[in-house]
Symmetry: none
Subunit: 121 residues, 4 copies
DNA sequence: GTGGTCTAGACCACA
DNA sequence: GTGGTCTAGACCACA
């Protein structure tokens, strides 16, 4: 995994875990890699993993059992889709807010989206 | 003006200037407020204004004429719309990148946008 | 039994044993459940039960007879009440210390107690 | 300041700040000592202070202004008393919960409080 | 000067 | 083995 140097690594690790949940690679009840293992895998200091896991816990996405590890929270099947829904909606809202701030109206937003998607391909 | 504490103030000031251009309050050739005036108006450290103006200059949106002040660049009429176009597109691209990262496909993106706009109202 | 994740499980198990003594379910001379049985009953790692029993022994609440098991100490009748008295007083003292630390005087403490009891109902 | 080795230092630092607010030594709007200054004063690693300040911010007791420092939040006069009220009530509730868990009834609680206060003197 | 992040690594309680 | 806390110290963005 490569890190974007403009974003704190612990945030990028949180995102990575979320992506794994959305992709279905991690389900509710699953054990997340141990701090040391993930630190080695990502070539990152264990403290940074600890930080990421603590923030995930604060977001109630994971649960830590003392001496046993960190686990994905929530009900088995729903977790991935619910998370995708939540993230998608909150990212979309922040985006719309930014566009409004720039003086761009709702119908123009859709045009920008289409153009941006076009240019990606 | 209130600042979002999660975003550097100098960025928010740059945005403020851009908004004024898009809104037509500042046009190409206009003189931007002096560092001292704007600092007082926004109740902000003058260094922060200096930083914002330097970044605007780096983006080639303004130009500084020695001893005369800082001015909006470009041709009179087009500046506002061109800026809106540029900002809209770059914000939209960043948004789409984030959605893809979260495992959301292009057609789902449109749905999220609609839902987000709905919930705003 | 559900565990509060902010308190070590072995402490919560010690408390559970104490509660059983206070409630009269365990009396002086009674044999405490075997490590294996209690581990199964509470769905907990047997090591954790061992730890809890060791601490209870250190507090001189239980005693282990080689090859026979672990037993509640003391004279038959008094044990429950004495324990309740001890726990009540030590918990109360710790509480008062905390309140003093927060700058709350003795007469205010009583008011807080009354309010807290009221709000519980 | 001496630290109780059973409680994380960052928690004890948070408590210290709260005490200063309750005592009126820190009021809303006041600047809290800088990370480095307090680290030196308390002979503690700066990271530990950072941690304490971040948690205080999460509790919405303080507010951080980038590059300027950390400040006590809230309205000027009320802060100290409100905080005292909040802490007092939450500590009292936790205490009553613990007493109930130990099989001690409300009217007995008051007796324990009195006895504990007596023995303190 | 101010707080934020990160590394390297120690020591600890807990299960 | 597992996560939690802490030190010592570097480097950074921001005001």
């Amino acid at each position: 995994m490569e890190f974007d140097k403009n974003v704190p690594i612990y945030i990028q690790i949180m995102d990575e875990i979320k992506h794994r949940i959305i992709a279905g690679a991690l389900k509710a009840g699953d054990k997340v890699p141990s701090v040391r293992d993930l630190a080695e895998e990502l070539k990152v200091n264990p403290n940074t993993i600890v930080r990421a896991y603590q923030e995930l816990e604060r977001e109630r996405l994971t649960e830590t059992k003392r001496g046993m590890g960190t686990f994905i929270r929530g009900e088995k099947e729903l977790q991935g889709d619910k998370l995708k829904e939540e993230i998608g909606l909150s990212v979309a809202k922040a985006f719309i807010q930014k566009m409004h701030d720039a003086g761009i109206k709702d119908d123009e937003i859709v045009l920008f989206i289409k153009k941006a998607i076009d240019e990606e391909n």
